[in-house]
C-alpha cells in the first residue's frame, strides 16, 4: 500500500487537489471561494498533465546540436561544436534522455483557458454583486425569491 502511494505520488497529489477543488466549487457558499475551488481544480489537471511528461533522469527537451544544420547562424554553430562532443559521447539521439514536452505545451494552452475562464467568472460575480449587493449564494437566492 505504501509502495503504491510513494510510487504514484504525483497522481495522488493531483487527485487530492482535484477533490479539494471540486468540494469548494460545490459546497462553498461564497462565489469567490467557488472560483478559488475552480482554479485549484484546473491546476490539479495541469499538474497531472505535466507529471505524465516527466521521466526519471531526463533533461529538458532541447536537442543537442549535431552540426549538420545548414541554416543556423555562426554563433549557434560555434556553440554546437562545443556541445557536439558531449552529444556524441551520449550516443545518438535518445528519446529516454528528454522529458516529453508535449503535455507541457498543452498545459500552456490550458493555463490561458483557465485565466480567461476566471476573468469571465470574476466579471459575472461583479455583476451579481452590483445586482444583489452580495456574493454569498444563500443571500443572493433570498433576494431572488423576494
Amino acid at each position: 500500500m505504501l509502495d503504491l502511494i510513494i510510487a504514484k505520488f504525483n497522481y495522488w497529489v493531483y487527485i487530492v487537489l482535484m477533490m479539494i477543488g471540486l468540494y469548494a466549487m460545490i459546497a462553498k457558499n461564497n462565489y469567490i471561494k467557488k472560483l478559488i475551488g475552480m482554479t485549484i481544480f484546473q491546476t490539479a489537471i495541469m499538474l497531472f498533465y505535466v507529471s505524465i511528461g516527466a521521466k526519471q533522469g531526463a533533461t529538458i527537451p532541447i536537442i543537442d546540436h549535431h552540426g549538420d544544420g545548414g541554416d543556423h547562424g555562426e554563433a549557434a554553430e560555434a556553440v554546437g561544436h562545443a556541445v557536439e562532443t558531449a552529444a556524441h559521447a551520449a550516443g545518438s539521439l535518445d528519446p529516454d534522455a528528454y522529458v516529453n514536452p508535449l503535455p507541457h505545451v498543452l498545459m500552456l494552452t490550458a493555463i490561458v483557458v483557465g485565466v480567461a475562464t476566471l476573468g469571465v467568472a470574476m466579471a459575472v460575480v461583479q455583476k451579481i454583486h452590483d445586482q444583489y449587493g452580495s456574493i454569498e449564494e444563500d443571500e443572493v437566492l433570498k433576494r431572488i425569491k423576494l
Partner: protein, 511 residues
C-alpha cells in the same frame, strides 16, 4: 492550390477574422457591426456549402485538411466526413440566420454593446464550428472552451437573473470541460497521440481496449460531454441560463451548444472507440438509455409545468438531448442514424422555436404564455412558422421531426428497449399537448394587452398597442421562415440526408 480545397479553413477563418473586424467596428462606428456580422457568417456559410460538396465528391467521403502541411499525428487537422460535414453546415446556417435576425433584438436588448455582442457572437460560431470539424482531441478542448467562454459572456448580458444563472453555468461548464481534458489525458498516457484517427489506430493495433486507463479516460470524456450537453441528471444549469439570456443569445446557443456536444459524444464513441468497446466494456448501455428516458420525461413534464415560453423551450431542449443520447446508446445502426439525423433536425427546430419566441417577445414584450392569446390575428406569419416548428417537434410528417423520430423508434424496437419507445412516444404526446395549448390560445382567443406586471424601462414607454396585424419586421420573419421551410425540406428530402448519414453509420461497424 485550388481555392475550393481551402473551403474547410475558410469556413472557420471567416467568422474568426470577422470577430476582429467587428470589434474594431464597434469602436469606430457601431452601425457597421450588424452588416459585417451578416457578411462574415454568409461567407462562412458559402464555404460550408463548398465543403459539403467537396465531401460528397471525394472518394471515400473524407476530407483531411492539414494545418501548415504537417502530417496528422504531429500537426492538427480538420477531418470532415459524412458525420460532421452536414453538422458543420448546419452550424453556419444557424449562425447566418441568427445573424440576420439579430438586427432589432440586439439593438433593443443590448443597446450600446453591439460591438461586444457581435464579436462574441462570431467567436461562439468559431468555437462551435471548430468542435464540429477538428480531428484532434486536444484541439477540440480548446474550441470547446472558446465556444463556452463566449456563451458565458453572451448569456451574462441578459437581464434579471442572467448573471446568477450564468455563474452556475460557468461552474458546471468548467467542470465538464475539465473532465473532458482529463479523459483526453488518460488516452494520451496510453496511446501517446492526440489525433482521433491515430488514437483509434493505436488502440486497435495494440489491443488497448482492456486497459483500465483507457476505460477511465472514456468515462471521464463521457461525463464531461454529458455535463456540457445538460444530460439528466447533470442538466440543472441549462433552463435558467437559456431563459434569462438575451433572446438573440438563446437563439444561437440553444440550437448549437447541446447538439455539438452530442456530436462530440458520437465522435468519441464510434470514431475513436468502436461499438464493441463502448457497449461491451463501457457503462451498461441500457442504463444510459434509461437515463435518456428519464431526461425525456423530466424535460417534457417540466416544460408542461412552465408558463414562460422560453423556459418551456429550454426544458424541451433537455428532452431532446434525451432522444439523441438514447438513440446513440441503443447500440444499433438504426438508432444511431436517427440520433445523427435528429442532431440536424433538432438544431433547426430549436432554432425556429427560439426565433419565434424572440419575435413574440420583441412585439409583445413578454415571454408569458398568456401573451400568445390571439396572436394568429396579430402576428400571422410568426405564428405560422411557429406552428410548423411545433408540428415538427411533435413529429408530424412531412416535417423532419417525424422522420428522425421514426428512425429512433425503429432503433428502439430493434434493440428491444421498450422503455425508450414508450418514453419517446409519451414525450411526443406531451409535446403535442404543450404546443396545441399555445396554438389554441393563439388561434381562438382574443388578444390581450401585453401582459407583464410592473414592467418598466424605456421599452414600456415606447409600447403602443396597435390595431390589426402587428407583425415582426422582415429581418426577423425571413430567417424564421427560412428555418421553418428548412424543416419541411429536410423532411421531404430526408431520404437523401439519411443516405449520406448512413455512409458514416455503415463505416462504424455494428454487428
Amino acid at each position: 492550390m485550388d481555392i475550393v480545397q481551402q473551403a474547410p479553413i475558410l469556413m472557420i477563418l471567416c467568422p474568426f477574422l470577422g470577430a476582429f473586424a467587428v470589434s474594431l467596428a464597434g469602436l469606430i462606428q457601431r452601425r457597421w457591426c450588424y452588416p459585417l456580422t451578416v457578411l462574415f457568417t454568409a461567407g462562412s456559410a458559402y464555404a460550408g456549402l463548398g465543403t459539403l460538396i467537396q465531401v460528397l465528391r471525394t472518394e471515400g467521403g473524407v476530407i483531411r485538411y492539414r494545418m501548415g502541411g504537417w502530417e496528422p499525428p504531429f500537426g492538427i487537422e480538420f477531418r470532415l466526413d459524412a458525420l460532421n460535414a452536414a453538422i458543420a453546415l448546419m452550424v453556419v446556417v444557424v449562425a447566418l440566420l441568427v445573424a440576420i435576425y439579430s438586427r432589432q433584438t440586439v439593438a433593443s436588448e443590448t443597446a450600446g454593446k453591439e460591438g461586444h455582442f457581435y464579436t462574441l457572437f462570431l467567436l461562439l460560431t468559431v468555437g462551435v464550428l471548430g468542435i464540429s470539424m477538428t480531428g484532434d482531441a486536444f484541439n477540440l478542448y480548446v474550441f470547446l472552451e472558446i465556444s463556452s467562454l463566449s456563451s458565458y459572456a453572451l448569456i451574462a448580458m441578459g437581464r434579471g437573473r442572467a448573471a446568477f444563472s450564468c455563474f452556475n453555468y460557468i461552474i458546471m461548464g468548467t467542470i465538464g470541460a475539465s473532465f473532458y481534458l482529463l479523459g483526453v489525458g488518460y488516452l494520451y498516457i496510453k496511446t501517446g497521440s492526440l489525433n482521433m484517427t491515430d488514437i483509434a489506430r493505436i488502440l486497435q493495433e495494440h489491443g488497448l481496449y482492456s486497459s483500465n486507463s483507457v476505460r477511465i479516460g472514456f468515462l471521464f470524456i463521457l461525463i464531461g460531454v454529458w455535463i456540457k450537453m445538460a444530460f439528466v441528471p447533470l442538466h440543472r444549469w441549462l433552463p435558467n441560463a437559456y431563459t434569462f439570456a438575451p433572446s438573440t443569445t438563446s437563439c444561437l446557443v440553444a440550437p448549437l451548444m447541446t447538439k455539438v456536444s452530442i456530436y462530440v459524444m458520437i465522435r468519441i464513441m464510434f470514431s475513436v472507440f468502436n461499438p464493441e468497446f463502448v457497449f461491451g466494456v463501457g457503462p451498461r448501455s441500457d442504463l444510459v438509455v434509461w437515463l435518456a428516458v428519464i431526461a425525456m420525461m423530466v424535460g417534457s413534464f417540466y416544460a408542461l409545468a412552465k408558463n414562460k415560453l422560453k423556459m418551456m423551450l429550454a426544458y424541451l431542449v433537455i428532452a431532446e438531448v434525451g432522444y439523441m443520447v438514447g438513440g446513440a446508446w441503443l447500440a444499433n445502426a438504426t438508432g444511431l442514424t436517427g440520433a445523427i439525423f435528429h442532431i440536424l433536425a433538432d438544431g433547426l427546430m430549436t432554432l425556429a422555436l427560439f426565433l419565434a419566441a424572440g419575435a413574440i417577445y420583441y412585439k409583445r414584450k413578454s415571454y408569458n404564455i398568456v401573451a400568445t392569446k390571439g396572436l394568429f390575428g396579430k402576428m400571422p406569419f410568426t405564428m405560422g412558422a411557429f406552428a410548423i416548428a411545433a408540428l415538427s417537434m411533435i413529429g408530424i410528417p412531412p416535417t423532419c421531426g417525424f422522420f428522425s423520430k421514426w428512425y429512433l423508434i425503429s432503433g428502439g424496437i430493434e434493440a428491444g428497449h421498450w422503455g425508450f419507445v414508450v418514453g419517446l412516444l409519451t414525450s411526443s404526446m406531451v409535446n403535442a399537448v404543450l404546443f396545441f395549448r399555445i396554438l389554441e390560445r393563439a388561434y381562438f382567443e382574443k388578444p390581450e394587452l401585453p401582459y407583464e406586471p410592473g414592467r418598466q424601462g424605456k421599452n414600456a414607454l415606447n409600447f403602443v398597442e396597435r390595431k390589426g396585424v402587428d407583425e415582426a419586421p422582415l429581418t426577423m420573419l425571413a430567417p424564421l421562415w427560412a428555418a421553418s421551410l428548412g424543416l419541411v425540406l429536410l423532411g421531404v428530402y430526408s431520404g437523401v440526408v439519411i443516405d449520406f448519414i448512413s455512409r458514416y453509420v455503415n463505416s462504424v461497424g455494428f454487428q
